[in-house]
């Protein structure tokens, strides 16, 4: 643009193009200039096809202030020349020049180029702004924000990253109690309070998220990615809450089973300890161990044996009953004395039964009649022992361990009879 096509150059070019002498070209151009000026004077507007319109515009007089004196003065009206290019010419110049100017003045127009890029990316304008008139890009660029707002945009994700991390940190908190549930199966009372805080946690998380949202929102209007993230977080949170509820519900339904599994585990450990204790005083160890092994290996068989033995011996017991019943009241006290020593006392907890305790300490659930026998003063109905009852667990002799013995069968008969 620094280049200037001088008058002489224009004359030469015209002469060449039109195949006329420079002199003729000169006369034409001077006439052109002179007549243009004259026409402006007379008509105030000269239209030249292929170029544009020269106008003489009137500037109305206006009031102003003398800078040096401060007094009011009026600036008189005057005329000035304005030029409006033809539509086609204007377009050509906007289009072609823009491209060249951008190349030539890149450092200066960097901002403009960036704005163009933003316009392209966000507004899907493509090449439109260059082609269309001034008003249209205004409307189409409407969704686009000022470049200043891009800076906060870049900050946004940074601020959200902690937002994303915090819930992550909370997740393990939610998972930990889940992991505890199967382990803590026994103390039900302890778990109930444990569940409550769990339910409160998600409630506490939600306000956090809202707070964070409030922090983010005032910053910028453009935060579609942020909202997406929040939705994702919410979905995650809901998912975990549902999972938690399922776990709690599942726990209450399956608690008994869980208890059983747990008892089996614990029982094995206890058995080993028990037999160690038992082994100390006598030689029963081997026998007891052997018996227990048998019991462990063939629990079904023993059950069958019991079933079988019950049938034939029921008759025997009937005979015994006749004899035993009258003596029963007297025999109760000496019966307790039969037990050599008391191993320990066990408290009945929710879900536990005599058979389980029997299995726990004697290795087989079928020894429960001894437990009933040893605790007759405390147990009313052996199939429904109230929670919290302290059960004495006596040590069984070798003879007592024999399930075919008359003593065992008699006790069992009595215990079963006590079930209501």
């Amino acid at each position: 643009m620094a280049d200037k096509l001088s008058w002489s150059e224009l004359r030469r070019a015209l002469a060449q193009r039109a195949n006329i002498s420079e002199k003729d070209a000169n006369t034409f151009l001077t006439a052109f200039n002179a007549q243009l000026l004259e026409a402006l004077k007379t008509e105030k507007q000269v239209k030249i096809n292929g170029l544009g319109t020269f106008k003489l515009q009137a500037v109305a007089p206006r009031k102003s202030v003398d800078v040096t004196t401060g007094s009011e003065i009026t600036i008189e009206g005057y005329n000035k020349v304005s030029f409006v290019p033809e539509a086609g010419v204007k377009e050509l110049i906007e289009k072609v020049e823009a491209g060249e100017a951008v190349e030539a003045l890149e450092p200066i127009q960097k901002l403009g180029a960036q704005a163009d890029e933003i316009v392209d990316i966000l507004g899907d304008l493509g090449e439109l702004p260059k082609e269309e008139k001034a008003e249209e890009p205004v409307e189409e660029a409407a969704p686009v924000e000022e470049p200043k707002e891009e800076e906060p945009k870049e900050e946004e994700p940074k601020e959200e990253e902690p937002v994303a991390e915090e819930p992550k940190e909370e997740e393990p908190v939610v998972e930990e109690p889940k992991a505890e549930e199967p382990i803590v199966a026994e103390p039900v009372i302890a778990e109930v309070p444990a569940d409550e805080p769990k339910k409160e946690e998600p409630v506490a998380e939600e306000p956090k998220e809202e707070e964070q949202k409030e922090e983010v929102e005032p910053l910028i209007v453009l935060e579609k990615p942020a909202k997406k993230k929040n939705y994702f977080l919410r979905a995650l949170l809901i998912f975990f809450i549902i999972l938690l509820i399922l776990c709690v519900v599942g726990y209450f339904f399956l608690r008994k089973q869980v208890c059983e599994w747990f008892d089996i585990l614990k029982e094995k450990v206890d058995k080993i300890e028990l037999f160690n204790k038992c082994s100390a005083p006598s030689e029963e160890v081997e026998a007891a161990a052997a018996e227990d092994e048998l019991v462990l290996e063939v629990p079904e068989e023993t059950a069958e044996q019991v079933a079988e033995s019950e049938a034939p011996k029921a008759e025997v017991q009937k005979d015994q009953k006749a004899e035993a019943k009258p003596v029963a009241t007297k025999k109760e006290e000496p019966k307790k004395a039969k037990y050599e020593e008391l191993l320990l006392t066990e408290e009945i907890t929710e879900g536990s039964r005599l058979a389980w305790i029997s299995r726990k300490y004697y290795g087989h659930p079928d020894y429960w009649p001894y437990l009933y026998d040893a605790n007759r003063d405390r147990i009313d109905n052996p199939s429904n022992v109230p929670v919290g009852t302290q059960i004495r667990v006596p040590k069984l002799t070798k003879a007592q361990r024999d399930m075919t013995s008359s003593e065992y069968l008699r006790l069992k008969e009595e215990a079963v009879a006590a079930i209501r």
């Binding site: 096509l5 224009l10 000026l37």
Partner: protein
Amino acid sequence: MLTKEFIGLIVSGSGLSKKDAEQLLATTTAIMRENLMDGKAIQLQGLGTLEVKERKERTIVHPRTGERTIAPSKNQLVFKATANVKEELKKL
């Protein structure tokens, strides 16, 4: 004043035929356009210069919605009258 009338003025001022004047005017404007598109200013001796100027990008406010947007920079064809012509035309 339309182009035809202006050509009539040139004819009367230069003594060229109307046809020639039309042709010359057309070629002149063509040369001017080409040079302007090359980024060159055109000097009209004793009258002024036609030149291409960059109009810088600016923020504009939508009058109804109040939305702020950027009007991209563009180039404009501008006529600058010489001081003499300005003075001459100031008072009419």
